[in-house]
């Protein structure tokens, strides 16, 4: 059987590790095998993921009408798809339609994620053809102070969770007179429910390199470090290869793009310490030390890596800089609400039917994210709670799902948007167990520098156990309150300081789980669909 069009079809199969975790490599191999047999003329391109993760492996075929998607595709589906005419975009039970027109994607406002899933992540040509380097070229036309002014005017805030304005941080570094300055990208994305950084690094690595290079020009830095957690081996490999390609093309090194800018970039791999996602711990780790939190001041912008002025930003922050420079501060600033400007990359995970990346302007509600985008739970049971902003974020009850997603509105409600991770739980969740886990996790991952965090978390586990067991309940509840206050007030960083947030929110919104008033549902194991790999 021949491909009726007699031309070579281009077929995209993601190389993103989430897609690979459910069989994308096997699907790509099956397609290549069919091509190798000469039955069909096709080229397989390994793209990033579009972020519709429940459809992975999502196979796309280039047709005159656009890229037609099929998914989720199992390796054993491949022969049938090809026989049905997939290479011409023909109908099939797995056919999804033109991918760009799928409502889940079309309703989003993809700014940072515009290229992720569209291009071949390691193709320099593809990158430039899809608008890559426009931001760097624009920045190199400007004086450093003007680049900083542009980033400040865009309203871009750090996407790592704290939300500090990026331009203000950069100005501090620019104003330091040192000869040697650094740009550090914090790619230690250790929070459960977050995967946007990983998808950027695996799906559009040049964008991050470009953003770091713009930052280097803006502040006068000559060296950059990308600190990636060891749990992300695919991101490490992709970034290393991309840096090699960038050097070959003169996008890194001496005289970047023919300008006077010299900047080189190194990948450093973490070693399994959650705390190294905290910026000062990350700097210690980069210096070859235990990742222990530093007291601030001095702030890293003034005394950072090896005591030098250092820009420390998250992956999404730096990856968003190129588009700010390419399209202009105003175009970015027009998106969003109040003091939360631009877009946020929400990540839907946990017990959710349609999990993945939703990039939209700030101001969307949690309900829209979970119900409209997410389609409810994966288990089909009612949603009971969502934890927003990682393991240090609050557990919110369904009654608070209409809160708009913006930094200030969430803070006012005793929660945090953080990095936009949303982890959904169904009604089988035991909230006392989740609160206990928050303390247990803090005890496990505390760097040990502050006593309230190091010892308080251990005591927190014990106190919660006593409350649940009904031992001196009132006294222990008061003790837990006191402990939470102490941890909040007495810890140097967010690890100890924010662990009380999930604990208190669980206790406030779901007290029955602690007090034995709620008859725990018989918990049925979620029958997760077994993958195909």
């Amino acid at each position: 059987m021949n491909n009726p069009s007699h031309s070579t079809a281009t077929v995209y199969v993601p190389r993103d590790s989430a897609a690979r975790s459910v069989g994308a490599d096997e699907v790509a191999q099956a397609l290549q095998h069919a091509g190798g047999r000469g039955d069909f003329a096709l080229d397989v391109v390994r793209n990033g993921s579009r972020g519709m993760l429940w459809l992975e492996p999502l196979v796309e075929v280039v047709t005159p009408q656009g890229r037609v998607g099929y998914g989720p595709v199992a390796p054993e589906d491949v022969d049938g798809l090809l026989a049905a005419g997939m290479l011409d975009g023909a109908d099939h039970p797995l056919r999804l339609g033109i991918v760009d027109e799928l409502p889940w994607l079309a309703r989003q406002n993809r700014v940072t994620f515009a290229r992720v899933g569209v291009t071949d992540p390691l193709s320099a040509e593809d990158y430039e053809a899809h608008g890559g380097l426009a931001g760097l070229r624009a920045a190199l036309e400007l004086a450093p102070a003007d680049v900083v002014a542009e980033v400040t005017a865009s309203g871009l805030r750090g996407r790592g969770g704290a939300g500090f304005p990026a331009g203000i941080k950069w100005k501090t570094v620019l104003d330091c007179a040192d000869e040697l300055k650094f740009v550090c990208c914090n790619a230690d994305e250790g929070d459960s429910g977050t995967f946007a950084d990983r998808m950027v690094m695996e799906g559009d690595p040049f964008m991050l390199i470009e953003g770091m290079t713009i930052a280097a020009h803006a502040v006068g830095a000559s060296e950059g470090y990308l600190y990636i957690r060891s749990e992300y081996p695919d991101a490490v490999a992709t970034m290393r290869r991309a840096i090699g390609v960038a050097r070959e093309h003169g996008w890194l090194g001496k005289g970047i793009l023919g300008s006077a800018l010299d900047f080189d970039l190194h990948v450093r791999v973490g070693a399994g310490a959650y705390i190294c996602g905290e910026e000062t711990s990350m700097l210690e780790s980069l210096e070859g030390k235990r990742g222990m939190v530093r007291a601030k001041p001095p702030i890293p912008a003034i005394e950072g890596l090896f005591g030098r002025p250092t820009v420390v930003n998250n992956v999404l922050t730096l990856a968003t800089v190129p588009v700010v420079m390419a399209k202009g501060a105003q175009a970015y600033e027009r998106l969003g609400v109040e003091r939360s400007r631009g877009t946020q990359v929400f990540q839907l995970g946990g017990n959710i039917a349609h999990g993945g990346i939703v990039e939209t302007a700030f101001g969307i509600t949690l309900r829209e994210l979970i119900e409209e985008y997410g389609g409810g739970t994966h288990s089909g049971r009612p949603v009971r709670t969502a934890q927003v902003g990682g393991p240090l974020g609050a557990y919110l009850p369904e009654s608070m799902f209409d809160l708009p997603m913006d930094y200030e509105a969430f803070a006012a409600a005793g929660a945090m948007v953080g990095h936009g991770g949303v982890v959904v739980f169904d009604d089988s969740v035991d909230m006392a167990a989740q609160a206990r886990f928050a303390m247990e996790f803090c005890a496990e991952e505390s760097c040990g520098k502050c006593t309230p965090c190091r010892v308080g978390a251990v005591r927190g586990v014990e106190v919660i156990d006593r409350i649940v067991a009904g031992t001196h309940r009132d006294e222990n509840l008061a003790l837990l309150e006191d402990l939470c206050d102490l941890m909040t007030e007495g810890s140097l960083c967010a690890m100890g300081g924010l662990t009380p947030l999930p604990v208190r929110s669980a206790l406030t919104h779901f007290p029955d789980d602690f007090l034995g008033g709620r008859r725990l549902l018989e918990i049925h194991p979620v029958q997760a669909t077994e993958g195909t790999a």
Partner: protein
């Protein structure tokens, strides 16, 4: 490759690794990763050599080796299986995977008697929309139920 036995001592491996990373700023972590990649763990004998080569105190090196979860003081099994226990995977039944492994005679942190597999916990593999997730020797698996974990533990999952 060398065949002489003296070339594969811990000391020689450490010195060779350090030489490769000479010139990198604050090189201890990349050096430790490289030592572990070659030897499967960071043996106690490596600590004084590292201290001497990098001009650090033994206490400093020891402190770093023991601070990070990744660095092992003892060799692991031939396959390391890591079960994600972070919130997103908990929401989909990660604890059932831990129970399943335990009931198969592989509690967290333990290595099978025949040295085939070590089971560990990990907090977040970045696959939060396709959990529960498990990683085996650097490869990520999504939507893992007990049956699939069994296949992974038995090494019967096709690569």
């Amino acid at each position: 490759m060398t065949t002489s036995r003296s070339d594969v001592t811990v000391e020689s491996v450490v010195r060779r690794v350090v030489a490769r990373h000479r010139g990198e700023r604050g090189a201890l972590l990349p050096v430790l990763h490289a030592v572990q990649a070659e030897l499967g763990h960071v043996p106690q004998e490596a600590v004084p050599v590292l201290a001497e080569e990098l001009n650090l105190s033994r206490a400093d090196v020891h402190g770093v080796v023991t601070f990070y979860h990744d660095f092992r003081r003892e060799p692991a099994g031939r396959t390391t299986v890591r079960i994600c226990r972070a919130e997103a995977c908990q929401a989909l039944g990660a604890d059932q995977l831990v129970s399943y492994a335990r009931e198969s005679g592989l509690p967290l942190g333990e290595t099978a008697a025949d040295g085939s597999v070590t089971v560990e916990q990990v907090f977040c593999l970045g696959n939060c929309a396709l959990g529960p997730s498990v990683e085996a020797n650097g490869r990520l698996y999504g939507r893992v139920g007990p049956a699939r974990l069994g296949s992974i533990l038995n090494g019967t999952v096709s690569s």
